[in-house]
Every structure is written in structure tokens, then in C-alpha cells.
């Protein structure tokens, strides 16, 4: 059978169209009606609450914690991941041989399931682990790690930085490889030392890569789930509570479908607005400095 013209295109595109109607448009419409109701997922009775779900979410201490923690995680994760991935990229870039070996090796953490890594972290930090014994023999004491809000935040941030750095390093690496060698040669002739070259040539020309990594990393901070879900359950004292934990908890542990969907909408709004603002700020900064 030979299909003619129009039909071929529609037929080949149909897998997407069917899937988008069923699993995108339909749930999208449903979410708009869900947020107006109080419904426990089971009962045939749904109570119309208007904007009640939003009112509750705006005054909820749990939602505020999730909102606040996202920026707390961001303040740790984003600078750390930018520095570490840039360092990894610079190292790989300057190696005369085995570039690929090291690039692939640094990328390996990205493959890890957050669950498996959480298992390792829990083991290493458990009270009578070899690591804590070592700390106690050195300092006489060991932190309470996941039971301490400060350390729990740091541990979860470190896990995410560890996972992402090798991936983002590839982005910086591509940026570094795109910088023409002649620029460095000309600068060297003018007597610029390697630090000056780095500051005046490498960093400015890496601006597009920097921008990409920044936006990716910020977006990720709004979707933290696996690590705190497995390790801390959002605690201690909500120090590692996140948007997705709150949505999961409300919708699937307390079975509050409408409220859970409402928190999800707020999560999406917070993500969208935050990324928009940060992008504007970084773009304005880049433009002032004359970066592209």
C-alpha cells in the first residue's frame, strides 16, 4: 500500500499525536479541574473548594520549607557544581593523551541511581562505620550527619554535585575546545601569563557553556526527590524537604489529589519564575561585560 501526500505525514506523526492527547493534553485538562477540588483519590465525593487549595498551600509551613530549601540547595549546589565541572573540564582539556578515558571516567557518576548512591552514603555515614570511627579517632567526635540539619543538607547537596559534575564538565569541555589556539598564542606574545590568559580569554569565551550549565543546574534543584526521599524523608526538621517530596506526600501518602496537584502547579510556577529571573540577571551581567 502506498500512501499519498498528506496521509503519510500524519500517519508517521501519529504515535506522537496519540500519546500527546492521551498522556499530555488529557492530564493537563484534568489537572486544571483537580486543583479546584478537595478529593481523597477514592471517595466518589469531591468537594469544590475554589481557590481553597491555593490558600492552604500559601499558608503551609511545609510548602514554605520546600520553597525555601530549593534556594538553599541551589546556593550550595550551583556554585559547587560550576567550579568542580570547570576544573574537571580544564584538566581533561590540558591532558595531552587519554582525554577520552578521563572524560568518560568523570562522567560515570551521572549513571548512578540515586537509590544506590544513597545506600553507599547511608553506610559510610552510619554511626559505627569505618569512616566515623576514623573521624572519632582523629577528632574525638563525629557529626550526626543525616540527623543534623546542617550536615544532612550538605550531604545531599554533595551527592547531587558528585552526580552532575562529570556531565557538565563535558559541556565546558566542548566550550574549551571551541576557543581558537591563536588567541592564546597572541596573548603569550604580548606577555600575558597563563593566569591572565585564563582570566581574559578562557573565562569570557566560556560564557555560553557557563550559561548552559547554570540553567541546567538551577532547573535540577527544583526537582530533587530521590536522595532525600531515601535518606532523610525530608528531615531532620524539614531541612531537606523538597517540592517533589511534598507533592508525593500529599498526593500519594495522604491521598489528597487536589491539594497535591495544586502544590505541583506552585512548584512549576516557582521554577518558571525563578529561572526567568536568574536568566535575565545573568544575561544582563553577561551583556554588560560584553559576553555573548
Amino acid at each position: 500500500m502506498r500512501l499519498q501526500g498528506e496521509a503519510r505525514g500524519w500517519l508517521l506523526a501519529s504515535p506522537y499525536i496519540v500519546s500527546a492527547i492521551l498522556f499530555f493534553l488529557f492530564p493537563l485538562g484534568w489537572s486544571l479541574s483537580l486543583i479546584l477540588f478537595d478529593w481523597n483519590l477514592i471517595s466518589p465525593v469531591r468537594t469544590y473548594v475554589g481557590l481553597g487549595n491555593f490558600r492552604e498551600a500559601f499558608t503551609s509551613a511545609r510548602v514554605f520549607q520546600a520553597f525555601f530549601n530549593t534556594y538553599k540547595f541551589m546556593a550550595i549546589i550551583v556554585p559547587a557544581v560550576l567550579v568542580l565541572s570547570l576544573v574537571l573540564a580544564l584538566i581533561v582539556h590540558h591532558l595531552p593523551r587519554l582525554k577520552q578515558f578521563y572524560a568518560v571516567g568523570f562522567f560515570l557518576p551521572y549513571l548512578a541511581s540515586g537509590v544506590a548512591v544513597s545506600l553507599v552514603v547511608r553506610g559510610i555515614l552510619s554511626y559505627d562505620s569505618a569512616f566515623n570511627e576514623l573521624l572519632r579517632s582523629l577528632f574525638g567526635t563525629s557529626p550526626r550527619w543525616l540527623r543534623d540539619p546542617f550536615w544532612a543538607t550538605l550531604v545531599i547537596s554533595a551527592m547531587i554535585v558528585w552526580k552532575l559534575s562529570g556531565y557538565y564538565a563535558l559541556i565546558f569541555l566542548a566550550g574549551l575546545q571551541g576557543i581558537p589556539r591563536e588567541l592564546y598564542e597572541a596573548a603569550a606574545l604580548d606577555g600575558a601569563g597563563s593566569f591572565t590568559q585564563f582570566r581574559k580569554i578562557t573565562l569570557p569565551l566560556l560564557y555560553p557553556a557557563f550559561y548552559t550549565v547554570l540553567v541546567l543546574a538551577i532547573g535540577l534543584c527544583f526537582g530533587i526527590f530521590t536522595e532525600p526521599y531515601v535518606l532523610t524523608g525530608g528531615g531532620p526538621r524539614f531541612a531537606t524537604h523538597t517540592w517533589q517530596l511534598e507533592i508525593y506526600y500529599q498526593a500519594f501518602e495522604r491521598f489528597r489529589a487536589g491539594y497535591g496537584a495544586t502544590v505541583a502547579v506552585l512548584n512549576a510556577l516557582a521554577t518558571f519564575v525563578s529561572i526567568l529571573i536568574i536568566r535575565r540577571v545573568v544575561e544582563a551581567w553577561g551583556a554588560r561585560r560584553g559576553f555573548r
Partner: protein, 279 residues
Amino acid sequence: MSMARKKTVKMAALYAVATCLLLIMITPYLYMLLQSLAPWHEVDRVFLPSSLNTRSYRWLLAGGAEALPRPWLKSLGNSALVTTVVTISRVILGAFVGYALAVLSFRGRRVVQNFILFHMFYPGIILLVPTFLLIRAMGLYNTYLAMILPGLVSTWAIFMYVNFFRSVPKEVVEAARMDGAGELRIIFQIMIPIARPVTAIVFLFLFMERWVELLWDLIVVRDPTKQTLNVLLTTMFGPYGGYPGPLYAAGVLLTFPIIFLFLLFSRRFVQGVSLVIST
């Protein structure tokens, strides 16, 4: 010191730093592997076990403690099944739709294209609760289909193929048509072979992503015989608290297949990753 000598020292230092960092980056993997092979009384208590044995694996693959039996091997199979079906479907359907949008011209093509962009950037988290309700209403709660069906098409895969196919000269497709080739033959015998760098990268990223999916699989499947290894491991942190060795063995089963797969394709990956970055 001579210039050449100085340079050699510098390079040696660079390799030393690179190797140290590499070791740090893979420490969690090494730790997991060593602890899964350690005698049980040494698990987490020592960095390097005094001897290695496979007790944790035998215990795990025999189904776990008699008091807490869990289908570990089956869950590994479940992960493989769900991940493979979803990833292959995403790649093939991605190529189909990508081909339709990049090569064929039909009315409404631009609308579909723009809609895909909107879809791609629409925050998926909003859809979590209603999609779950939909799956439940379709009677798919606690089934493999619940994990498979919503993920059969990936907008990102389509996007990648559209970008690639657009760069293929029109003459290639026209020549094939002159020879009497149908659309499916053009896709499978011409387009997919030349898109190999894209396919490699799309396949790897989607496979990795699906393999470690947690939230969705956790919500739609509660039956342990159907859970993926990732979900089963998550639920057993507490119950198996007294059996850290076997948990590490499960961690190894979850992590090392994907590492092997990745290393197998790593050459293609490094070549192709710029395709992802440039978009």
C-alpha cells in the same frame, strides 16, 4: 631546570591530579562493590575487606531472608524489561515522527512542531497526579503497562531526530523515492543508518534516565513482583537494615549493568555528546 624538564613535571602533576579526582569520583562504586563482597561482620566497618566472598549475592539471589523474601532477581528482569521496551520505542517512534516533521510536508506540520516545543518545556510535575489517576482509571494500576505506556514517546528524542534529519540533503530522500522505496524503507535503510550518532546518544541518555526512574514507578506499582529493582531497593532500606551486605549486592546489580552498557558505547558517546549540548 630546563624548559622540557619543567613541562614533564607539570604534565606528571596534571595526570596525578586527574587520577586522584577520577578515583574520588568512582569511590562510591568501588565502595559498593567491595562491601557487597565483604564478610558480613565487616560490612561498613572496614574500608577494605580482609577477604572477599559472594555470600551477599547468594543470599540475595536466593530471594533474601526467609523472614523477608523479595523477588530480587525478578525485579532486575522487570527493570530490564521496562527500560528496554520504553527506550527502544522512544528511539524508533522518535525517528518516525522526526522523519515526518523534518522530511515530509503535510498540512499542520508546523502546528505539531510548535506543539512539541510547548510539550517539551511544559513542567511534567503538574501532570504527575492526573496521569496517575488516568492510569488507574484505565485499570492499569500495578501493571507493567503503567510503567511503559506513558513513556513510549519522547519529545526530546523527536526533537533530536528532527534536528538531524533536517541536515540530510533532500536529494538523498528523493533519489530513494525515484528507486521506488516506500517511507518505511527510507527510514529503516537510509535515515536510521545515517543517524547513528544521534541514535547512540538518544538511546544511551534515555536508557540511563529510564533505568533510574523512581517517583513514577513508585507510585504506579506497589506489587513487589512487578516493581523495578530501583523501586524494590528503595522500599527495602528499612526492612533489610540488618543485611547491609545484600543491599550493596542489590546496588551493584542496579548500577553495574548500566556502567557496562555505557562503557561499551563510550566512544560513540563522547563523539555524540556535542549533539546534545549544541541544542
